[in-house]
Symmetry: C2
Subunit: 304 residues, 2 copies
């Protein structure tokens, strides 16, 4: 470990935008910070707002944020609870963009009927900043928003301290598909970012959460060859066995996960560590981290 | 088309950093610019510096830039021409990071022998800006470099007009794997970015080019379950049938591609169009484009 610390200090000296005094301890490596985390640095997954997307290949786990899209999160849960998604399919896999699911028969005679949930809702592209939200701001400028950082454990942006805020289209973000009309989505079709963050979609679509486990089941899907990466033949669609709200699933069948808290001194240290990577491998620290390059760690815990 | 143009004009007015006079025509959509391109807006692929990575699933086509990594490009071509890669494999597929190939038996007794090429080379993390390079700079600030834009048809960065320049780790970029020593790579193992641009790797690894076709064959590979996404079992490795230099392949077997020129008025218009997306779908233009979100278009041409 001695070598790593020495190298870490060297990179501090080299980093343009960062001054370090000789008395200050060297910046620890991200992996060491993770190891040094305590129980208070983690939170349980919000199982009331977490979805299990059950595929033949396994389970994709998506945590939603009611603070950022209250009406859409409620409606998606209503769709889930009436079994709307069960038997539907992943219908689109566009390289370096999104994987999307919904009803392959949408707008056709045999389309799935919505029982009690809503088909469409007014857009929730942004919401007002409220006191209930925590926000750990990144120190660097971002091209797409005045402020970016981490709100309630999600990658987020703001146009000011008391203005509007929104979840960003980082890798793994899940959002509500829509047509040209801003209010034409409601959650019956959802997509997940599978490539470089398409941040130009921010404030243009309702982002509801992010994949916290099983992302590779979506990212490694064969790409669709139709326009926008839609699958062209029905047999290419990837069947959805079911989507369930985690809290509705018998405890023994749940996947017990914890998420790193993003409003702690440890998380701020993690940001600083990854803004200036050192160790034996990195020769030039970036002195910067782009929002979507900052991981929000997830770990398995033994089911209590 | 009238609606689209009207919406385009509206987005100009909204965009903070962009002024438009009433007399100026509305900004055209990217797809319309692409359609309006002429032969002079395209260049042939540089077949002397293009690799065909032949997999069972198809062909991945990678264009390399000798201007940015002259010694590594030459050495990779030497490795290719002595058949070094033929029969080797993709050994790593790490979600939201890289796919990597090389010799699964590296450092073992039955490792592939290098004949005339070099095993390692001094790093080419950055090179001096030279007059031979063209550069179309993006108007917006970037967190990882003083200047970013497009040089000789590749996503690139600079620390000044007469300083150093380097290719960036955008989605699809191909670079040289190495150990902790900066000069421990040479091209025997190469990786391609398959997720959100890990720009912190810029200036720390030698980027040699980018995938121009067939990227989905790499991005949809099953993810490795070992540390850093390495495949854990030999049978998980994805065999490489051969890597060939395009110019060495009989003309009838080549894939004829053209790449959009990045040093033209059209490309600058394309940047402006994607900085401020309008049309019927987008409600809020970003007024910005992050380097790696700017596509460098590729098209099939009929073989002459």
């Amino acid at each position: 470990m001695k070598t790593r610390i020495a190298a870490g200090l060297a990179t501090c000296v080299l980093a343009v935008a960062f001054a370090v005094s000789a008395a200050e301890p060297a910046r620890p490596a991200y992996s060491d910070l993770l190891k040094a985390s305590t129980a208070a640095d983690w939170r349980p997954l919000d199982e009331d707002n977490t979805l299990y997307l059950e595929l033949a290949s396994g389970r994709v786990i998506i945590e939603m944020s009611p603070a950022f899209a209250p009406n859409h999160v409620a409606n998606i849960k209503a769709l889930v609870r009436e079994g709307y998604f069960d038997g539907l399919a992943i219908i689109r896999s566009q390289d370096n963009y999104v994987a999307q699911w919904g009803d392959p028969a949408e707008k056709k005679e045999d389309q799935k009927v919505i029982k009690t949930a809503k088909k469409t809702l007014p857009a929730e592209f942004t919401v007002p900043v409220t006191k209930g939200m925590n926000f750990t701001r990144l120190p660097d400028a971002d091209g797409y928003a005045r402020q970016v950082g981490f709100a309630n454990g999600f990658h987020a942006a703001r146009d000011g301290d008391d203005g509007r805020t929104w979840l960003t289209h980082c890798y793994g973000a899940m959002a509500v598909a829509r047509g040209n009309d801003a209010d034409s989505g409601g959650g019956t079709s959802l997509y997940v970012v599978n490539g470089h963050a398409p941040r130009h979609l921010d404030r243009n679509l309702t982002v509801v959460g992010r994949v916290v486990d099983g992302m590779s089941l979506l990212s490694s899907l064969p790409r669709g060859t139709g326009r926008l990466g839609f699958y062209e033949k029905p047999e290419q669609n990837v069947p959805i066995r079911a989507i369930r709200v985690a809290a509705d699933v018998p405890r023994a069948e749940r996947t017990a996960l914890e998420v790193i808290r993003t409003d702690t001194p440890l998380f701020t240290k993690m940001i600083e560590s990854l803004r200036n990577r050192g160790g034996d491998f990195f020769k030039v620290p970036a002195g910067h981290i782009e929002l979507c390059n900052m991981p929000i760690a997830v770990r398995s815990v033994t089911q209590k």
